[in-house]
Amino acid sequence: MKIQQMAFMIVAVFFFFVLVGLFFMNIQFRSIKGSAADLQKDQTISSLKVIADMPELSYSPSDTMTVDEDKLKIMSSNFSANYNLFWPVSSVEVYKVYPSFKVAKKCPSVNCNFYEIYNNGQTDVKTYSAFVSICNRVKQLGSIYNKCEIGKLVVGVKTNA
């Protein structure tokens, strides 16, 4: 009888500790998920400047957050296929802000308003954006100057749902 009681007691104590362990593991895994999401958010926000200032997009190293429209045209073509693993984010798009538009129209096309530089096709993507200048060097009426307009760099990152 005593052995039976003791056996039941030991099994109960064992299950109690297993449950306590599972409870703590659950808390720990929740904190891992939270810190992974925080790190990803930090990385995406800091990536905005890094991507805008990359030599592949930047108009001039001396002007931060300024992208080159010629480079946008090239990078939104097949040229960027080589860069697949290079981007630290899921998608990179550059929108022309002015004149305002209701329907986004992908470049190259007539009256287009956004360039899709990279998209790895992931769903559940959260986007972050920053304003940039879109510039190119033009020659008009014999004078050469930098022509710039306002744009918006939008990067997407997969959400950890």
Binding site: M6, I10, M25, Y59, P61, D70, K73, I74, F86, R137
Partner: protein, 313 residues
């Protein structure tokens, strides 16, 4: 009969109690290791993130310091295929059991070039960056060091840059720290590292490109890759230079296409042929080819500066 029952109860209780205790100790140890692995993995990821603002842009460079609570080992592995990557992993020192734990999960960094030893350890790490142009801006080089250095006979430009960034682990001129790695510019004795400049014409300094010698190892450099050669192991240096040359070639291809677009809208440029040739030259190059390539890069830079419609700035 009573004695036998007492013995059996005690033996049974001891066995099961021992098993539960062993299980609990095993579980606690595993959880401790998992927590440490998690923390080390987070640190590796954080290193990747905190080096983002160090990408210096147009400036001469930027500097940052990382301080850890306990002694930390940072491992840097470089892979050179195409754009390649740096894989950063971290392990922390423990007062219990083995001093160094297995490294946490590695973070792959494809768009940065981190120059360091393959394995560094310390509580304080100094991180600074310098832009690399060849002849157009290619990337920002990131240098990660934990040791002290002393630069002897450095040219004014290098000394001013180091002083300007306020990097505390690099002394210029008189070496008061006996444990510091002595880096000498030119042919001097009793040095750990010697830097030899090779630039003779059209240079800002003879050290615009040249060679860094570490014992029997020789590393050719161009521009700010001089710092990379000083602060990193040869394997990391050669691998990162190969990655940089691949990216230089890719950007040359992009600039070639850009020159076509510029010509099409009347903003004419003659850089197309140079860029096409340059792309072919740098595509499969490595650190060995840096000195002859530097002379060509300087000529291209001058030609681009002369143009009204510059392909790059």
């Amino acid at each position: 009969m009573k004695k036998a029952q007492f013995n059996f109860v005690w033996i049974f209780a001891l066995l099961i109690g021992g098993a539960i205790l062993a299980f609990a100790v095993f579980g606690a140890t595993r959880m401790g290791n998992t927590a440490r692995f998690q923390s080390d993995t987070e640190i590796a990821k954080s290193i990747s993130i905190i080096t983002d603002p160090l990408q210096s842009g147009f400036g001469a460079g930027s500097f940052g310091k990382m301080t850890f609570v306990q002694e930390t080992r940072i491992n840097n592995i470089c892979f050179s295929g195409k754009f390649g990557k740096n894989e950063i992993s971290v392990s922390t020192k423990s007062g219990v059991g083995k001093p160094w734990n297995l490294a946490g999960g590695a973070t792959s960094i494809h768009n940065k070039y981190i120059f360091s030893s393959e394995q560094n350890s310390g509580k304080e790490y100094y991180v600074f960056s310098k832009p690399f142009s060849f002849p157009y801006k290619v990337a920002d080089l990131i240098f990660l060091t934990s040791k002290d250095y002393c630069f002897v006979g450095s040219p004014k430009g290098v000394a001013d840059e180091i002083k300007g960034l306020g990097i505390p682990n690099i002394q210029i001129g008189n070496c008061t720290n006996a444990n510091a790695t002595k880096v000498c510019f030119g042919d001097r004795n009793n040095c750990d590292i010697n830097v030899y400049g090779s630039c003779v014409s059209g240079c800002n300094s003879p050290y615009d490109f040249g060679t860094v010698k570490k014992g029997s190892l020789t590393m050719n450099y161009a521009g700010n890759l001089m710092f990379a050669a000083i602060f990193s192991d040869k394997s990391i240096y050669d691998c990162n230079v190969k990655r940089l040359m691949y990216r230089t070639a890719r950007i040359a291809g992009e600039l070639y296409d850009k020159s076509d677009l510029m010509n099409a809208r009347g903003c004419n440029t003659n850089m197309g042929a140079d860029l096409s040739e340059w792309r072919g030259l740098v595509f499969n190059s490595g650190s060995k080819n840096l000195i002859p390539l530097s002379s060509i890069a300087k000529k291209m830079e001058k030609k681009n500066e002369m143009e009204l419609c510059n392909v790059w700035k």
